[in-house]
């Protein structure tokens, strides 16, 4: 059994090596053929032709963070459902009831976030 996992890793390492090195190689190889005319204006950020009005690295509104927090909780819940999904066929009605109570708790979490207005995009 252990051997199968080892060869999975070996295969994926080979696959990843090819997929990473090909674009890197292409980028490096064509740098010999590409023009290079650095100019100070090219280094400016694009803002529809105007000088940059404000710096982008400043505090920004937190709605994104709320969504990311709720996302992680639901992601873990999805993965737990994935863990039991393959055996659910053989679990009988009792097993289904157990999973249903889990899904109900997930839904309660969603309902809470909804009520509290965390899912409103401003």
């Amino acid at each position: 059994m252990g051997g199968m996992y080892l060869s999975d890793v070996v295969f994926l390492l080979g696959f990843a090596l090819a997929v990473v090195s090909l674009p890197v190689f292409t980028l490096a190889a064509f740098s010999l053929l590409r023009p290079r005319h650095p100019e100070s204006l090219k280094g400016e950020a694009y803002e529809s032709g105007m000088p940059q009005a404000s710096i982008p690295r400043r505090p920004f509104h937190m709605a994104y963070y709320n969504f990311a927090l709720v996302f992680i909780v639901f992601e873990v819940e999805t993965l737990l459902i994935f863990a039991i999904a393959p055996v659910l066929r053989d679990a009988g009605w009792w097993g289904l009831g157990e999973v249903a109570s889990f899904v109900v708790m997930v839904t309660l979490g969603l309902a809470y976030a909804w009520r509290k207005g965390a899912l409103v995009w401003k």
Binding site: G14, V19, E47, F60, L110
Partner: protein, 320 residues
Amino acid sequence: MSHLLTFALGLLLGAVAFTIVGALTAILVLTERKVGARIQGRVGPMHTGPQGSLQTIADMVKLVMKEDVRPARADAVAFGLGPLLVAVPAILSLAVIPFGGPLIMRDLNVGVLYFLAVPGVTVVGLLLAGWASYDNYSFLGGLRSSAQFISYEIPRGLAVVTVVMLAGSLSTVDLLEAQSRVPYIVLLPLSFLIYAITSLAEVNRIPFDIPEAESELVAGYHTEYSGFRWALFFLAEYAGLFAASAFGALLFLGGGNGPLLPAVVWLILKTSALMFVGIWIRFTLPRFRADQLMRLAWKFFLPLSLANLVLAALVMKAVA
């Protein structure tokens, strides 16, 4: 099989996957422009090659030869890492799709989860690219597209889990065998709809292409990219469309199963049909607003996919 051979096979198939995605991008861009032109009553590209058929080849040559411009205040490391982290996971996810024939990739025990997990790394690349560029449009585009990506990931996962429930396995090859008689679109039509629509959002295509909304964000997270680095974002978009369509064909349409023709041909036919629908939608629907997009994900698709779990459990009991 010796490990050296496995490694060499991995290298070879990785190179093949990258090449196929490159060629496919050329074909898809041309198809998209031609189909779009037809839908909108135009002719599309006409000048390079017969009927404009060599247009994207010329574009690709031009892209690799373009100057590689980096904004002066950009963070060099993150600026370089961003496009790679967007493109590489999209192609890596192809490693578990059983194409049949000589292109059987790798049958992992957890192949389905692998396919959902690996493209998730893309979000890190989007955020890095948007942040590193030091540009307001890029910054907003990176934030918006990653918020969209994570929001649609959950309903999408919950739609895929129903297929796993019926098939009783997380291996992509087992899924294929489980559908030898009936493809799952017949048993789980709602799961298929949720999967198809949320997948469009995951690969940032219209009507979900808010991060690239030209009228407000110029080009979103890749505003400051040029030449080959920009091409990598483009490659990632089409690799994502291809991977999501192939996976959808595998999950719901019975993958390579079909009479007469070899498995590879069936899978390509089904995948192309799904990709065509994606292109068709692009020229038919308008773009959502950012708040509509998030509301749709959390207040429509998430409750719907939770209800769909119950429905799928009943279907599972009825089939068994």
